[in-house]
């Protein structure tokens, strides 16, 4: 979890698992989630273990979430947008687009 030590400029609001989250324009989704106190963004595919963003630079794929119905987005590379609907993923993905198990 992250503390913002400078006030974010230009607020942007989106939802994560139904909860409203405020971030700043230009933030990546992963950082915005961590700064909003989100600790676990998904449950792992094989063992169902809690996982959180690890590298924040597009390498580890631990930050995968569903964004506006599209699964497996790397949240550390996606910019937050007003009204974005973000949900966490649990286990393996399904072929039918956008449906969480």
């Amino acid at each position: 979890m992250l503390l913002r030590i400078r006030e974010p400029a230009e607020p942007v609001t989106f939802s994560f698992n139904g909860r409203s989250v405020t971030a700043a324009r230009g933030d990546t989704l992963a950082v915005a989630l961590l700064a909003a106190g989100v600790d676990t963004v998904r449950e792992s595919v094989v063992g169902g273990e809690p996982r959180a963003p690890y590298c924040l630079m597009g390498v580890c794929f631990e930050c995968l979430v569903t964004v506006d119905g599209i699964q497996n987005r790397q949240s550390c590379l996606v910019e937050v947008r007003q009204g974005m609907v973000v949900t966490s993923q649990s286990g393996a993905r399904l072929v039918c687009g956008g449906q969480n198990r």
């Binding site: 913002r4 700043a24 700064a35 809690p50 996982r51 924040l56």
Partner: protein, 560 residues
């Protein structure tokens, strides 16, 4: 002229003289140099803004508001300003997922099999071979400072500007949810480095991040980890981050230094060179400064992270006894290694750099890889640091322009000589640092069988060792047996550990083991994006047996 920001796939040109992948110091400098010489240039980068790793967030931050970075960070401004003022197309938030190098260079004979590196060398089991004497991959046995000088016999690229030397490469990109293919006469891969994964028990728990990730949070949103922080690992960047976090007011419970004291002796003979390098003063003041302000524990071994659903602390051994420290956040780091996925999937020869203990694309002294028209610059071609990366970017741009006939050698000779001299300065001292901070064996190849190696497919060290003992020939077969490296990260997080474990089990050098064979797309691509790609007439014909014209005639007939 100034830079044009491309925000949708449809705004991309179909063809560029030069496509640069990566907008760190290497890519930005390469693009600026090439645009100044009149080339049409596209820079594609995954990040939301230019700067790469070191200068991340530089266009958003100010020295007044973000006063915790230190002066090296702000050097990035000059680079991004020059880039913004140059006539380039810049596609941010854009992933390059494939690169097909030109298969038939326009006017020269192909470089493959011509005395230079022979495409990509593979052993009988498909692994990358480190050496094919007497051709270039053996240069990796030279000290880093001499790399690139023992250039092999490049039949076609050592006499630049005698006409076109490259064909047309094709890149697959995705931006704003849509994929596109773009062609280029030359491509510079400036994809940078990643942190060397540090697999220790508990490293998959929430609350554990790489130290680089914490730095990214600081650079991108001025965020610091909440609560008590433990940093663990080795290398200059760990201390740099500790310094930045302390300045930003973070609560560092301890820095656990895992550096291997045995490396000190080995590094000693490179000390004189280091003492002449630009890193001395900065490095010393960092080390001392952090030691003064935070608890630093040296000689740490047997590190493990405790916690069930979140990191709660660390256990370790130091000074002959077990110890534990409570923490809310654990930051791991043990140096950086080149990000080779795109270069490797494109088919560039990959070589083992023993000093840096990592694989890297083979390059000549100007950054040309084994594939015609594909160059590599910056930390993606071998770790050299930000200023080195910027200079290498410029050198690669000049080489690329010469190869595609946009610059003559007389035009670039003076400039090249100056840049090469600068590069030499920035290479000073690297071998010392690389040797001193080579991670200890137990952090390269985790001894504890329960340590997760492949985070995606959840494969543990013990499983890997068992399967290796069955006689699996190489990492690629290991992957098929246990799915290690088959998840979405495509082996980025386990490749180096898998190679190290296999090398240890066999008692051979990692060079003999090789690494995963990678294929495009190097990042997962949605089928919908692939399906929506504009189709070439040749592809339509290959699939349907009819040309697009025949299709439209048929459509017309039906509608009539």
């Amino acid at each position: 002229m100034s830079m044009r920001v491309v925000t949708e796939a449809g705004q991309l040109a179909l063809h560029y003289d030069l496509v640069v992948v990566g907008a760190g110091p290497a890519g930005l400098s390469a693009a600026t140099e090439a645009a100044a010489a009149g080339a049409s240039v596209l820079v594609a980068d995954e990040n939301l803004a230019p700067g790469g790793q070191i200068y991340r967030g530089i266009t958003r931050n100010t020295p007044e508001r973000q006063d915790f970075f230190g002066k090296d960070y702000w050097k990035g401004r000059a680079i991004t300003d020059a880039f913004a003022a140059s006539s380039v197309d810049y596609a941010a938030a854009t992933t390059v997922w494939s690169l097909d190098a030109a298969t038939s260079p326009l006017s020269s004979s192909p470089r493959r099999g011509e005395g230079g590196p022979k495409g990509r060398m593979r052993g009988p089991s498909g692994q990358v071979l480190p050496c094919d004497a007497p051709s270039p991959p053996c240069r990796d046995l030279l000290p880093a400072g001499e790399k690139g000088q023992a250039a092999p016999s490049h039949s076609i690229c050592d006499s630049p500007a005698s006409g076109e030397k490259t064909g047309v490469a094709t890149l697959g990109l995705t931006l704003a949810g849509a994929a596109r293919m773009v062609s280029a006469r030359a491509v510079i891969l400036a994809t940078g480095a990643m942190e060397r994964p540090m697999a220790v028990p508990g490293w998959t728990l929430p609350g554990v991040m790489s130290a680089g990730a914490a730095q990214i949070a600081l650079k991108s949103v001025s965020g610091i980890p909440a609560g008590r922080i433990v940093l663990a690992g080795c290398g200059p960047l760990l201390y740099l981050l500790a310094d930045q976090l302390l300045r930003a007011g973070a609560d560092i419970a301890a820095l656990l230094d895992t550096a291997d004291s045995k490396q000190r002796m080995a590094a000693l003979r490179h000390l004189p060179d280091f003492l002449l390098s630009p890193y001395v003063a900065k490095g010393l003041s960092l080390l001392l400064g952090v030691r003064r302000r935070a608890r630093v524990i040296s000689g740490v071994t047997e590190l493990a992270i405790a916690g069930s659903n979140h990191a709660e602390g660390v256990r370790f051994r130091a000074g002959g006894r077990q110890d534990a420290i409570a923490a809310d956040c654990v930051l791991l780091h043990q140096g950086i290694i080149p990000g080779i996925n795109l270069a490797s999937a494109a088919g560039c020869t990959i070589e083992w750099n023993d000093t840096q203990r990592a694989f890297q694309p083979w390059t000549d002294s100007h950054g040309r890889t084994s594939l015609a028209g594909v160059l590599s610059a910056g930390d993606g071609a071998g770790i050299g640091g930000a200023e080195h990366a910027a200079v290498c970017g410029r050198i690669a741009a000049l080489a690329a322009l010469a190869d595609i006939g946009l610059l003559s050698s007389s035009q670039s000779a003076g400039r090249l000589a100056g840049l090469e001299k600068k590069r030499q300065t920035y290479r000073r001292g690297r071998t010392f640092l690389d040797t001193l901070y080579r991670p200890a064996r137990q952090f390269l190849a985790p001894p504890d069988p329960d340590t997760m190696v492949c985070r995606c497919e959840e494969v543990r060290a013990g499983t890997l060792r068992q399967v290796i003992a069955l006689g699996v020939p190489g990492p690629n077969q290991l992957k098929t047996f246990v799915r290690c490296g088959m998840g979405p990260c495509q082996g980025r997080m386990c490749a180096s550990t898998v190679t190290e474990i296999m090398a240890e089990e066999r008692g051979v050098s990692p060079a003999e083991i090789g690494t995963y064979r990678l294929r495009a797309p190097v990042k997962p691509l949605r089928l919908a994006e692939l399906g929506a790609l504009p189709q070439t007439p040749a592809a339509v014909f290959a699939v349907t047996g009819r040309t697009p014209e025949q299709h439209s005639l048929e459509e017309e007939g039906k509608n009539r």
